[in-house]
């Protein structure tokens, strides 16, 4: 009988070892998440369809491999729009560390992660209003354990090996490898420098039936989800768990930048004029203005604290010739020049932004006059007033756009109250 038990055990152990080792080697070579980067063969594993669904993991690992000196930090807006290979960069290599749908907390953690192990010198920090919503939940693939430091900047010794078991020895990776093998005819969602590959966006817009439809989809998404998330509580800087404001994460980034001698260019991302209308229709205009004021204030206080000059804060979100670009009518077969939809600008506009902030004034000023406004505590009040005035001009000249968004806001509000929320939140829609 003993003999049978021995044979059983031997077979069991050898089966397990053989299969597990083979699977690990397979996953390592196919490298579906693009983090080992050992071998890339055309038609076998060159295209990585699983990279874009595992951005937080992949980019965290890649930063440690690439060791960039310059970074672009932001959401998918800067992910699409800002080019790490723009000639204005003073450092190299530059990596676009933007994370889709991110929050200011996650940005702070990726800032800490990237600066802890590398000598980062220059960062473009592209901020969006939605990032500062304290109601926001962290992304499902965000994980502190893979970052080089914890939130108090204490070294995390397992960060470099943390993802190894999951990326080599898991069903998910095995499936991802197989999927990679089978989708070599598509294109990569990201460029090697971390920027989003925008070439597929035109396809998507075609698929949904043109630019105006794409605008509708995104506007609806913001009105139903992004400013509320699954709870019915609307946008608030204060986090419900900690009762503290999310502005403190921006403070932490700025003060760490001063300590580590990193140049920060802080940018409020551009958005289409219709996007501002969505903010307005959602009843968030006041808090949106408040947000800009707080950015100015935070940057100033941190500069005073460190005794150094203020980092520049550029606002590209106001009304100008770019973001007031007309949206093609329904079924009108025409492409837009600067925007994919209200929230994502095209790389061409990104180039103008980088021209403005990376290249000294006189070179860029002549060709693209007055793009973006440098915000200071002196001009913030008049700046906000100016935008308010320009808004009135815009909605009077684009009455159809205005009404379209207004109706969408009312519809989504009714839908949310009916299907999602038990407590009525009244007076959300301003007139």
């Amino acid at each position: 009988m003993r003999k049978y038990f021995n044979r059983y055990l031997l077979l069991l152990v050898s089966m397990m070892t053989t299969f597990l080792v083979l699977i690990a080697i397979f996953n390592y070579l196919i490298d579906p998440y693009w983090i080992y980067r050992k071998i890339e063969i055309d038609g076998v594993n060159k295209v990585k369809p699983m990279f874009r669904t595992h951005i937080s993991m992949a980019k965290a690992n890649l930063v440690n491999k690439i060791k960039p000196q310059g970074l672009i930090l932001g959401s998918s807006r800067s992910g699409y729009g800002l080019d790490p290979e723009h000639p204005g960069w003073q450092t190299s290599p530059v990596y676009n560390l933007s994370l889709p749908g991110t929050s200011i907390y996650e940005l702070m953690r990726y800032f800490q992660h990237a600066t802890a192990a590398n000598s980062v010198k220059e960062i473009v920090l592209a901020l969006d209003f939605f990032m500062f919503n304290g109601q926001r939940r962290y992304k499902t693939d965000f994980n502190e354990k893979r970052l080089n430091v914890d939130r108090n900047n204490k070294l995390n010794f397992i960060s470099n090996v943390y993802d190894i078991p999951a990326t080599l020895f898991s069903i998910d990776s095995l499936m991802a490898s197989i999927k990679t093998l089978r989708s070599q005819k598509s294109t990569n969602g990201y460029l090697a420098n971390g920027q989003r590959n925008w070439s597929s966006y035109a396809e998507r817009i075609k698929k949904v039936g043109g630019y105006r439809n794409m605008f509708h989809l995104v506007e609806k998404e913001y009105l139903t989800d992004h400013w509320w998330f699954s709870s019915c509580n609307r946008y608030d800087f204060v986090e419900p768990q900690t009762h503290k404001s999310t502005l403190r994460y921006l403070k932490a980034i700025i003060s760490a930048a001063y300590i580590n001698n990193i140049t920060l260019h802080i940018v409020i991302s551009p958005n289409h004029a219709r996007f501002l209308e969505v903010i307005h229709a959602a009843g968030l205009w006041d808090i949106y203005e408040e947000w800009k004021k707080m950015l100015v204030f935070t940057i100033k206080t941190e500069a005073n604290k460190s005794g150094k000059s203020e980092f520049k804060l550029w606002d590209f979100s106001g009304y100008d010739m770019y973001n007031s670009e007309d949206v093609p009518l329904k079924n009108e077969n025409k492409a837009m020049e600067w925007f994919w939809e209200p929230s994502h600008y095209k790389a061409e506009l990104g180039t103008l932004i980088l021209n403005r902030i990376l290249i000294p004034m006189k070179n860029s000023n002549e060709k693209y006059p007055n793009y973006g406004v440098l915000l200071t505590s002196q001009n913030i009040k008049s700046h906000l007033e100016k935008i308010r005035a320009e808004r009135l001009i815009y909605i009077n000249s684009h009455h159809d756009d205005y009404l379209e968004i207004k109706n969408l806001a009312i519809k989504t509000e009714n839908w949310r109250i009916k299907t999602r929320c038990q407590q009525l939140i009244k007076n959300r829609i301003n007139n």
Binding site: R7, Y8, L9, L11, F19, K139, D141, S170, L174
Partner: protein, 525 residues
């Protein structure tokens, strides 16, 4: 440390086993046991070393009290009784402070107007398990049912890592004698193989079945706890998924414990016996978390008077026992209510038995239809109770159940619109309307259906671990289920090549499922 972690499977377990048998082979039984106790403390302290002191204090205190209680001091019965009361009070006090103080404080502050300060108390791991096991020891020492045990054996009885954090709740009378047997110190290929096989089956149940079906329950319960209103289908999918998740999670964990102990030649009591095959709620409780039911019966229900004081008393005792059993699972009203409705279920079940015995005293034959009905009704009411068990608070449990009942309407797919007349309608007070069946995209409904159906088949028709392993006496307390012996011999495990291949595939899939690569679902931008 969790059984389903790399550290446990690839480091802790091999080292513990190797050193134990190495020492054991040299004939140092006590040294080997000490090693096992040390390893168990390490296992416990991995989570939070601060509470090592607590469990140690609890062990020393209870051992001393048990030691004194088992001595012949019967000439002072009052003294002896006081010792017992003090000892039990110590245990209840410990668990009361760590597990229930905040619950008590919050409710007292809210309803009585007291002003207890509520601070976060971290619940020491396994405190519910090791306190209960030691209370049984004290009570039995008092009643003179225990022999005198040595301290090392006693330590191992409490801390033995396979059963330490999630049971089965072992009884001293079944564990301590096993530690004195000589054969456990010699490595046995046979025990190791059987243990490993049971462990792998349990691991598979936990990390493959339970963890995967959790994808369909967790987002639904999270949404309900956030105050969202679920659609009829969402609620049912979530409730069923949780019903399976909990079973495979807990019974998988119990299997792993039984398998691990077996690697050391120790038999643990069986904890689950296909509970969803139960044909009544009484039957259910003899199959679900068996060692807890046993504890509640022997140390709560029977001491309270059990069924000896008449029908009314019996039902009251039953209710109280189940309410306490509910509270044992966690400090919250949802657990109390969960215990309460199970108490009610049991009372109804017992009353029903009395009534049917009066009217149909000889009608013992059960038809297939009878069995199907009985099993379905039992399953249904158990599902209802799990919703309460899993909800964060009573409000969200209520909302969840109203969605399940159709009180929030039942959506119909738009394709039926034309054939059914085209407008929303109401039937028996339930509103039917045309809309998305699933309000938010929590998961892929087709995948959910496959998982739920598959697991439904498993819990209803597949043999359980004890049945599969029945040739080799996998656990204690299995004799009760002799009638359930598998008729088909090929379903019974034996150390053959075929079984080795089957089990190695379960093991490979389980190890590949120990971690997941989490995906970001909002990836279109």
């Amino acid at each position: 440390m969790l059984f389903n972690s790399y550290q446990f499977i690839f480091l802790f377990l091999p080292v513990t086993i190797f050193v134990f048998f190495r020492i054991g082979r040299l004939g140092h039984a006590n040294a080997a046991l000490s090693w096992l106790v040390l390893a168990s403390f390490f296992f416990y302290g991995w989570w939070n070393p601060v509470y090592l002191g607590l469990i140690l204090l609890s062990i020393i205190f209870n051992y001393l009290f048990g030691f004194i209680l088992s001595k012949e001091i019967t000439q002072f019965p009052f003294l002896k009784k006081s010792m017992l009361v003090l000892g039990v009070a110590f245990n209840i006090g410990l668990i009361g402070y760590f597990k229930y103080f905040n619950f008590f404080a919050v409710n007292a502050n809210a309803y009585v107007g007291t002003n207890f300060s509520v601070e976060e108390i971290i619940l020491p791991l396994a405190i519910s398990f090791f306190t209960f096991q030691q209370i049984t020891y004290l009570v039995d020492a008092y009643q003179g049912k225990t022999k005198e045990y040595n301290f090392l054996h006693y330590c191992l009885f409490v801390t033995f890592f396979p059963q330490l954090i999630a049971g089965p709740i072992v009884h001293h009378s079944e564990m301590l004698p096993q530690f004195s047997k000589k054969h456990i110190y010699i490595f046995s290929n046979r025990n190791f193989t059987i243990g490993l096989t049971i462990f792998i089956i349990g691991l598979f149940k936990k990390v493959v079945l339970a963890d995967n079906v959790a994808f369909y329950s967790t987002p639904i319960f999270d949404a309900a706890n956030d105050g969202l209103i679920l659609t009829f289908y969402e609620a049912w999918f979530g409730a069923l998924a949780y019903t399976f998740q909990l079973y495979f999670d807990f019974s998988g964990y119990s299997d792993m414990a039984i398998g691990l102990a077996r690697m050391f030649g120790i038999l643990l009591p069986v904890n689950f016996h296909s509970p969803y095959k139960a044909e009544s709620i009484i039957d259910f409780w003899s199959r679900w978390h068996i060692t807890l039911s046993r504890f509640l019966r022997d140390y709560v229900y029977i001491p309270m008077g059990g069924s000896r004081k008449g029908v009314a008393h019996r039902y009251i005792n039953l209710m109280l026992t189940m309410l306490l059993g509910g509270l044992w699972h966690g400090a919250g009203w949802t657990f109390v209510i969960w215990g309460g409705i199970h108490g009610l279920y049991l009372v109804i079940n017992h009353a029903w038995r009395v009534i049917t015995n009066i009217f149909f005293p000889h009608d013992r034959e059960k038809s297939t239809l009878n069995t199907i009905m009985a099993r379905s009704i039992t399953f249904f009411i158990v599902v209802i109770s799990w919703v309460i068990f899993r909800s964060d608070n009573i409000d969200s449990a209520f909302n969840f159940l109203s969605s399940m009942s159709g009180a929030n309407g039942i959506p119909l797919p738009a394709i039926l619109k034309n054939s059914l007349g085209g407008s929303n309608f109401s039937l028996l007070g339930v509103n039917f309307y045309y809309s998305e069946l699933f309000n938010r995209k929590y998961f892929n409904p087709n995948a959910a259906i496959i998982w739920l159906l598959g697991l439904m088949l498993i819990v209803n028709f597949a043999p359980n671990t004890q049945q599969i392993m029945s040739r080799y006496i996998p656990a204690l307390l299995t004799t009760k289920w002799k009638a359930d012996t598998l008729r088909k011999n090929w379903l019974k495990w034996k150390p053959s090549n075929v079984w080795s291949i089957i089990i190695s595939f379960l093991a490979i899939i389980s190890i590949l499922s120990l971690t997941q690569v989490s995906e970001f679902l909002y990836f279109q931008f």
